[in-house]
Amino acid sequence: MSTRSGDPRVELLQGTLDVLILRILRFGPAHGHEIIKAIERSSDDVLRVEQGSLYPALHRLIKRGWIDFDHGTSENNRRAKYYRLTRKGRRQLDVETTKWETLARAITRVLRPA
């Protein structure tokens, strides 16, 4: 997490990019650039992702069989790779989401004792 006070944006926690990609793909297939944009948009631009790191993450998820890809044509008639969630990935997203919520609740409780 960034410690710089001026910048409201925070860097992504190690390993969380994977689950974010899965979550974005829950809405439907998307190509790489769309995924990044979607992450930035849906976090209200708070999360700062180094765009390049998307690619190792995508390959990691493909290797695990959580996502797959097809070739398609984008809105302006350009060829693009569309990534989509697999059945396995869908299940994994549920697991990861629960894990994340549990972790977040626990950390919040420690930082802000009621």
Partner: protein, 865 residues
């Protein structure tokens, strides 16, 4: 695979991504240049992204290894001379090692050809005074009861003749008892197995093809094999072989090359006569060799109690057949393997030395790479990869060398080592070569690679190319390597020297003995069914001698029976002593001109004549000394018994000793002379007949006509051998010549490598010191002093190496004792000669660089920086 292709498209994906991002920024109003900068900034390092993505699929070390390999290949291509020298050195080292290993593999490691080779035992009885190994029919009968043995085979092997279906052919015959077929897993390709109890025969496939043109009609036909009526029951498949230990008389033929297998039945013989066999047995599964030996010993003891008075051989030997087959070759092969490993080690020392020199030259490259962030581990790995590539290249070329040298060994001296002809470069040998290559890479690569461990990039980069600290440590390391090299070479040279001296001792021959001009023609006498005892045989011998004698170019012709058998002697007038304690001697029947033909020197009395009225004997000096110590044997009366162990043969008469001849080694060179007794052939039974022809000219030119003459006397007789006595003698020491030849080659290779090694180090050191030498000369040092300085430096390394080597050699040559002949393992003259040769070599290697140093022009040397 779709997912892998995904990786290949990564570049496109990234470009696509960036284009979209740039477009976004342009849409937001940035100039194309700014948009591009912003997009790149947000994306991060493209190279790193690619590497991380690749790492998802390909373990990072493989990727780096591949980089290392490509880099190493580039470096090696850049210095082709260096690479060639290293690869060639390694190729010789690995090639020789591989060749020797393939021989070791074939001879010592590969099991013999039997159904259960690991359970096959060699069974024999021994008498310390009579070296022949055999069992008697009594032993065979008694051992059949052994419960620890699953099968027991009695066999014999000899040269004979097979006559069937109008064809008569010389054949290598093995007579084998029933169990043999199962034990050797014989499955006839044609016909069937011999029926136990019947006299039936199987032919080898090669023999069947060669003499019967592969005609299946011959199966089932009657045949005569070495005088015995038999039936050809079938033909063995082409790949069939049985590794039976041949009798000594046939050992030079190699193992397993048998043409005809005749089934025999071992039966007790009447009136106490015995038959001699060789025997192999197969253990029952799970039974130990020791158990079998103990059981056979018990059976022997029981038999001896039940048959008192029948001669009994004192010692039983039970060993795995594999050990027996390897026999005397084991020690020699182990020494050769050790020697060839030393050659490779010397080669490795040379290469390590070269790599150290190159390491100094590559100091800058290393410094730059370290400064750019390459880790030490990565650098060391890089160097090891280079070493490994060199070693593998050396190994590949080495395989070619191994193949060539193996072919040469097999062609030069095929009978030197049992089963040598089976040696081949198979999977095991390839695996060995690969293993040795990898090990070699570690041996010569680790030191130089680690010499970078403490490299400080600052030092290297600051200095100019010449004044970089001369890596004194590395030079010291190289000197140590050369020292070790010289020490190893000295050990090898001493070993080779001792063997050469042994060979020289062995082949030194007495005056009068001229084996090069003496032919022997060996005839396996076959009665051909004729009756009449010895008379036809004597008539045959007379006829052959009479026909050869007048031939042009023949100086003398004689005859002797094969001196293979030993007999016990009974000396008239001696008090009766137990049979075992009576003297024994090799017995041969000879003709009048034999002594002259072979070149035997008469020491006392006379030789036999062709007209002895009663039996006479001639003794050699060994027997005269042993049987008649302090007495004059001439005039003494002797009776010869049957084969060793038997009582005096019934009806044998006493004969008079008429002469004594000097000991002569005319059959086996590297054995000490044995006691021998010669009888005139008219009064003793001649068995295998050797005609000995002393020629005035080239003996080999006379061989065909003499062979034809002998064949013309009686076509039934098998002439199995026509060659010079020299050739026969040379064959008798074939294993020794094999060892000497190989060890000599190895030692010479090591010497050459050591020469290169010491030259390399001294030349390099002179090059490093050019400036210093220039200064010395500018200050008035004489050229002679400079030469002396360099030579002293080189020779101090050499002398240290020699001292080390002598110490090692003194400790190591002892293992060779068994291979030496009349030479002690620490023979001073051999050691002195070897030290002299090495010192001279080292001196020669120093002289080149020394004179080069003396030619240094001080002006040039000082200006060059």
């Amino acid at each position: 695979m779709k997912r892998r292709r995904h990786l290949d498209a990564l570049d496109d994906d990234i470009r696509d991504h960036l284009e979209r991002e740039i477009q976004d920024h342009i849409d937001r109003g940035l100039s194309p240049a700014d948009a591009r900068a912003a997009a790149l900034g947000k994306f991060g390092s493209i190279a790193l992204v690619k590497e991380d993505t690749r790492a998802v699929w390909i373990p990072i070390w493989i990727d780096q290894l591949w980089q290392d390999v490509r880099y190493a290949l580039r470096m090696l291509r850049r210095s082709p001379g260096f690479s060639a020298v290293v690869v060639l050195t390694l190729a010789i080292g690995i090639g020789l090692n591989t060749a020797v290993f393939s021989v070791v593999d074939a001879v010592l490691l590969r099991p013999p050809a039997f159904a259960h080779p690991e359970r096959v035992l060699w069974l024999t009885t021994l008498d310390p005074r009579i070296k022949d190994e055999f069992i008697t029919s009594h032993d065979f009968q008694a051992w059949r009861e052994a419960t620890s043995l699953e099968r027991l085979v009695a066999y014999d092997e000899f040269d004979g003749r097979l006559t069937a279906a109008g064809t008569s052919a010389p054949a290598r015959v093995a007579t084998v008892s029933d169990d043999f077929w199962e034990m050797a897993a014989a499955r006839p390709a044609l016909g069937r197995l011999p029926v136990p109890g019947q006299s039936e025969t199987l032919l080898s496939h090669a023999f069947f093809e060669r003499w019967f043109g592969g005609n299946p009609e011959v199966v089932g036909k009657p045949a005569v094999v070495a005088g015995h009526e038999t039936t050809i029951a079938g033909v063995l498949p082409a790949g069939f072989r049985a590794d039976l230990v041949p009798p000594p008389s046939a050992a030079t033929r190699g193992i397993g090359a048998i043409d005809v297998y005749r089934g025999i039945v071992v039966r007790p013989l009447p009136n106490g006569m015995i038959q001699l066999f060789r025997a192999v047995g197969q253990l029952k599964p799970g039974i130990s060799v020791e158990t079998a030996r103990a059981e056979l010993e018990t059976l022997r003891a029981r038999w001896a109690r039940a048959n008192p008075g029948v001669p009994f051989r004192p010692t039983l030997q039970v060993v795995p057949l594999m050990d027996k087959l390897a026999g005397g070759a084991r020690a020699a092969l182990m020494i050769l393997l050790a020697a060839v490993a030393l050659v490779l080690l010397v080669g490795c020392a040379n290469i390590a030395s070269l790599l150290l020199a190159r390491a100094s030259a590559r100091q800058k490259e290393i410094a730059i790479r370290t400064a750019l962030g390459a880790g030490r581990g990565r650098m060391v790995r890089q160097f090891l990869v280079e070493s490994l590539i060199l070693a593998l290249a050396g190994g590949s070329v080495g395989l070619v060398i191994a193949r060539g040298s193996l072919q040469m060994m097999v062609r030069l001296i095929p009978q030197a080592v049992p089963r040598l002809t089976e040696a081949a470069l198979d999977g095991r040998v390839l695996a060995f070569a690969l293993g040795v290559s990898a090990l070699t890479a570690l041996t010569f690569g680790v030191g130089p690679a680690l010499s970078f461990w403490n490299a400080n990039p600052n030092d290297a980069l600051k200095g100019g190319s010449r004044t970089v600290s001369p890596a004194a440590g590395r030079l010291r390391a190289r000197a140590a390597l050369v020292m070790a090299e010289l020490a190893l070479t000295l050990v090898l040279l001493c070993g080779a020297g001792l063997l050469v001296k042994s060979l020289w001792r062995i082949t030194a021959r007495p005056a009068g003995f001229d084996p090069a001009h003496t032919l022997t023609v060996t005839v396996q006498y076959d009665t051909g069914g004729r009756q009449g005892g010895e008379e036809p045989r004597r008539a045959y011998i007379n006829e052959v001698l009479g026909r050869i004698r007048p031939t042009a170019g023949v100086e003398a012709v004689g005859m002797s029976t094969n001196a293979g058998g030993r007999m016990r002697l009974f000396i008239e007038g001696r008090p009766a002593s137990p049979t075992q304690d009576r003297p024994t001697a090799l017995h041969s029947s000879v003709s009048a001109d034999y002594a002259k033909a072979i070149g035997m020197r008469i020491v006392a009395g006379r030789w036999v004549t062709d007209a002895e009225s009663e039996p006479v004997f001639v003794l050699n000096e060994s027997l005269a000394r042993g049987a008649f110590p302090g007495e004059d044997p001439i005039g003494k009366r002797i009776q010869t018994g049957g084969p060793p162990g038997a009582t005096a043969a019934a009806g044998a008469t006493f004969g008079t000793v008429v002469g004594v001849v000097a000991d002569l080694k005319y059959t086996k060179l590297d054995a000490s002379p044995e006691p021998e007794i010669f009888a005139d052939y008219r009064h003793a039974s001649p068995f295998t007949i050797n005609f000995i022809v002393r020629t005035t000219g080239n003996p080999l030119a006379l061989a065909p006509p003499i062979r034809a003459l002998v064949a013309g006397v009686d076509k039934v007789q098998t002439i199995s051998d026509t060659r010079t006595v020299e050739a026969a003698l040379t064959d008798s020491i074939a294993p020794r010549r094999f060892t000497v030849f190989l060890l000599g080659v190895f030692a010479a290779t090591a010497l050459l490598l050591a020469l290169i090694g010491i030259y390399g180090v001294i030349a390099y050191s002179v090059a490093q010191r050019t400036q210093e030498i220039g200064v010395r000369m500018a200050l008035g040092a004489e050229r002679r002093a400079v030469v002396l300085m360099v030579v002293r430096q080189g020779m101090s390394i050499a002398i240290a190496g020699l001292v080390l080597g002598v110490a090692a050699a003194l400790a190591l040559t002892r293992v060779m004792t068994g291979l030496l002949y009349e030479v002690t393992p620490t023979d001073p003259s051999t050691f002195a000669a070897v030290i002299g040769v090495l010192a001279a070599t080292a001196l020669a290697a120093c002289c080149g660089p020394a004179f080069k140093a003396a030619r240094v022009d001080p002006l040039v040397a000082l200006r060059c920086e």
